[in-house]
């Protein structure tokens, strides 16, 4: 899906390379079938998501049905089937953050970025995710931008931080231009 604009020979080359990387990863696991989740996590670490051909390769090499591999890949939230943006913003919606009004921060981020949770901006720059607790509940509500945690967030603080961040990274998208 992500390779639509690429010509066929380039696609084939990417395919082959990806399959090769999968085989390298598989070599690290002796008892492979039971390590399926870790294997998929390793693949994801490499590509930021799970490209279709890698799942096919895993199914083939481990002697599993493709549907079982897909089943696992879709069951677990840590595994993703679509590519992620270069940068990411994560908002915690866990109970501790929820009672401190993280829902309002959700509205704020959505209106700033123009995208909802689980999606990526059209230019593939930025992915926005929500999670159910990051384990830093004492300082909630928590927003994570490119791996850096920000505690005690408010809608107003979020707006200021995001507009600074978006300016710095030179992102422009519809929602931010409107302002």
């Amino acid at each position: 899906m992500e390779t639509t604009a690429i010509n066929p020979s380039a696609k084939l080359r990417i395919d082959t390379e990806r399959r090769r990387s999968v085989n390298c990863i598989l070599k690290n696991y002796k008892d492979s079938k039971s390590n399926l989740i870790s294997i998929l996590q390793d693949i994801q670490e490499k590509f930021s998501y799970l490209p279709t051909e890698t799942l096919e390769e895993v199914a083939k090499k481990l002697n599993l049905k493709l549907i079982d591999v897909y089943g696992v890949a879709t069951f677990y939230k840590s595994l993703r089937l679509s590519p992620q943006g270069k940068h990411n913003i994560t908002l915690c919606l866990g109970t501790a953050c929820h009672v401190r009004a993280s829902a309002k921060i959700l509205d704020e981020i959505q209106s700033q970025l123009g995208i909802g949770p689980g999606s990526t901006t059209e230019n593939r720059e930025l992915t926005f995710n929500t999670v159910n607790c990051l384990g830093v509940c004492a300082i909630g509500p928590v927003v994570v931008i490119d791996g850096k945690y920000y505690g005690r967030m408010t809608p107003i603080k979020t707006r200021e931080m995001l507009s600074k961040y978006l300016k710095k990274k030179n992102f422009s998208n519809k929602a931010t231009e409107k302002r």
């Binding site: 989740i37 870790s38 677990y76 866990g94 109970t95 607790c133 509940c137 004492a138 909630g140 107003i156």
Partner: protein, 617 residues
């Protein structure tokens, strides 16, 4: 490093580390837990190191990076030993002053001390801070003294002494000790740990497994993370002892994928323990073999349930199976007898062995022994990790340790037990916290999340929140859970959006009963608890939503209406600037008006207005 083979070896090793440590005149510890990371503790650490180098003190002053101190709200935290000075909210620019006053001299940097909000007195030492004073930090206390990636630190504190003790005992004797201590599982159910071990030991089979459950899917709880992250060896030592008693040679620690630091620290700890011969073949020369592997969870709440966790470890989708007829202690991982315990349960084991079961048995109350760590969060002054003897009352935890409600608001309820638990109201504040009494109050102990709610929290919204969570997390294997929760969520959503009808609440109760009685695993069986407990204690709030179409707490957006009071508005324009939806109009110095058709009810204008002109109708 040579492997440790005997008790004598271990003691010699401990003595050697002690001697090496004695050359340090002072120990400066910076908290490196995830909470403090969010407050830039890394920069503080770098700066501390630079200052030590600059003053040529690297050989005289030890710099340590520890796990969570529990008071994350006030991080980053720096302590100085042997004086035991406790500094909080330390930033990079405070470091030269700390150096100057507290490291080079024996003075105190006043402005970094904790200030008691009631007496306005500065407090110098950890033990004197109200947040810590009433706690009994048997498990968490070591976090501040240990660098999680240095096994020496754990050993010098007496670590692995319990292991040496048990390797000489017959397995049954160890199980008797754990049984006599009264230890019960800290992962939620409260099953007696010694009995579980005994079942597993008594099941026939060559191969057996032990598992440490660090899935901690309960949102709002983070004590398991802080224990494994800050003191991984205490968990590992507990697991080795359990494995020896049960007769297992392989263990797993199942960690949530959102906990990268806990994974890393546990991984390093395992490697170090192997190097010293505390894990692997022929542990401490006893002939006993045991090793531990880390498995990263895939991110599904239901995988905290033991049979789903096992399915996940086997590389499958985390769907639970029926436990009524076949327990995991009989047939668990790959069909072998398997003993699963929670992180905190494992960490209690070395304490019990070292101090004796009688010592443990006298902590706590009638049926619940020892201490329990709670993650005290939400609308409370002092948020953080709190460890108290079982049976401590909610009031003591929330008001004495937690310092009461944030911003002087009124306490409404405390939620315990996560998505399987319930909300306990103000008139139950004197309830002693233990397994049975929380159950009787319609909630449960759970793994230890304690979320404090004030008058601004809407209980219908809380019920909706948990239903939404559970709808997402239901594995979908059985119909009552999959469809029942969805339907309950629709009903509660209707109520919160002003579409509730008179008979809705009866229907909700009926559905709750069905889902509870007919679901397969604990997730479904307890899914109705948040609804039932809020209905039990806060029925009037539901009725307000249904009959008057009002949300008294001002949370349920479709029922809200923000208005600007003409009498109070000064026309300062602050609200216009802040409104994200351009819903406010008005000329400078004139009365401003909110266009109700555009207003998204975000409440920003109410927060920003200095004249209290914006009111919730």
């Amino acid at each position: 490093m040579k492997k440790i083979r005997t008790k004598k070896n271990l003691e010699e090793y401990r003595k050697r580390i002690k001697k090496e440590n004695s050359k340090f005149k002072k120990i400066v510890t910076i908290c490196g837990g995830t909470g403090c990371h969010a407050y830039n503790c890394e920069q503080v650490k770098q700066k501390l190191r630079k200052e030590l180098v600059k003053n040529g003190l690297l050989k005289k002053v030890a710099l340590k990076v520890s796990g969570c101190h529990g008071f994350c709200e006030n991080g980053p935290i720096v302590t100085i030993r042997p004086e035991n000075i406790f500094y909080q909210r330390v930033s990079e620019k405070d470091v030269p002053e700390i150096m100057e006053k507290s490291i080079l001299k024996n003075k105190i940097v006043e402005h970094l001390l904790y200030e008691d909000p009631v007496s306005r007195q500065k407090v110098t030492y950890l033990e004197e801070i109200p947040f810590y004073k009433s706690q009994k930090r048997l498990l968490l206390g070591k976090n501040g003294l240990i660098e999680p990636d240095k096994i020496e630190d754990y050993i010098v504190q007496g670590g692995y002494g319990a292991l040496v003790k048990v390797l000489k005992l017959p397995a049954q004797k160890i199980i008797e000790i754990i049984k006599a201590s009264g230890l019960r599982g800290r992962g939620g159910g409260g099953f007696p740990t010694g009995r579980k071990w005994e079942f597993c030991r008594n099941t026939e089979g060559e191969i057996k497994y032990v598992i440490c459950n660090c899935d901690e899917g309960d949102p709002g709880a983070y004590m398991d993370r802080s224990l494994l992250e800050g003191n991984p060896h205490s968990v590992i030592e507990g697991m080795i002892i359990g494995a020896f008693a049960i007769g297992s040679n392989q263990g797993y620690i199942y960690v949530r994928h959102e906990y990268p630091l806990a994974c890393r620290n546990a991984q390093i700890a395992i490697r170090q323990a192997r190097k010293l011969g505390l894990l692997g073949k022929n542990i401490l020369g006893s002939g006993f073999n045991f090793d531990i592997q880390i498995a990263k969870g895939g991110g599904a709440f239901v995988c905290g349930e033991s049979t789903a966790l096992i399915a996940s470890l086997e590389g499958r989708m985390g769907e639970p199976r029926d436990k009524q007829h076949l327990h995991t202690t009989e047939s668990g991982l790959w069909g072998k007898p398997t003993n699963i315990n929670n992180v905190e349960t494992w960490a209690n084991v070395p304490l019990i062995i070292n101090n004796g079961p009688e010592w443990f048995y006298q902590i706590g109350n009638e049926n619940s022994k020892g201490t329990k760590i709670f993650s005290l969060v939400g609308k409370v002054q002092n948020t953080g990790l709190v460890e108290v003897p079982m049976g401590t009352t909610l009031r003591e935890i929330i008001f004495e340790i937690g310092g009461g409600i944030l911003n002087g608001k009124k306490f409404k309820a405390v939620q315990t037990g996560g998505p399987s638990g319930g909300c306990v109201p103000a008139d139950s504040l004197d309830l002693p916290v233990d397994y049975e009494q929380l159950n009787a109050a319609g909630s449960m102990m759970g793994s230890g999340g304690m979320i404090v709610m004030d008058e601004d929290t809407c209980m219908v919204d809380v019920a909706k929140y948990f239903l939404n969570f559970l709808k997402e997390e239901s594995c979908g294997k059985c119909l009552p859970c999959r469809e029942g929760i969805k339907r309950m969520l629709e009903i509660v959503t209707d109520i919160s959006e002003g579409r509730g009808k008179e008979d809705t609440l009866d229907l909700l109760e009926e559905l709750s009963a069905v889902v509870t009685d007919t679901s397969l695993c604990g997730l479904g069986k307890t899914a109705a608890n948040p609804v039932l407990s809020t209905l039990r204690y806060f029925r009037d709030e539901y009725e307000n939503h249904i009959k008057e179409k009002k949300c008294p707490a001002g949370v349920c957006v479709p029922l809200l209406r923000y208005e600007i009071l003409a009498d109070c508005c000064k026309g300062c324009g602050a609200c216009i600037k802040i409104c994200p939806y351009n819903a406010i109009s008005g000329k400078p110095k004139e009365i401003h008006i909110i266009n109700q058709d555009i207003c998204a009810k975000c409440g920003s204008c109410k927060t920003i207005c200095k004249f209290n002109a914006v009111q919730l109708q």
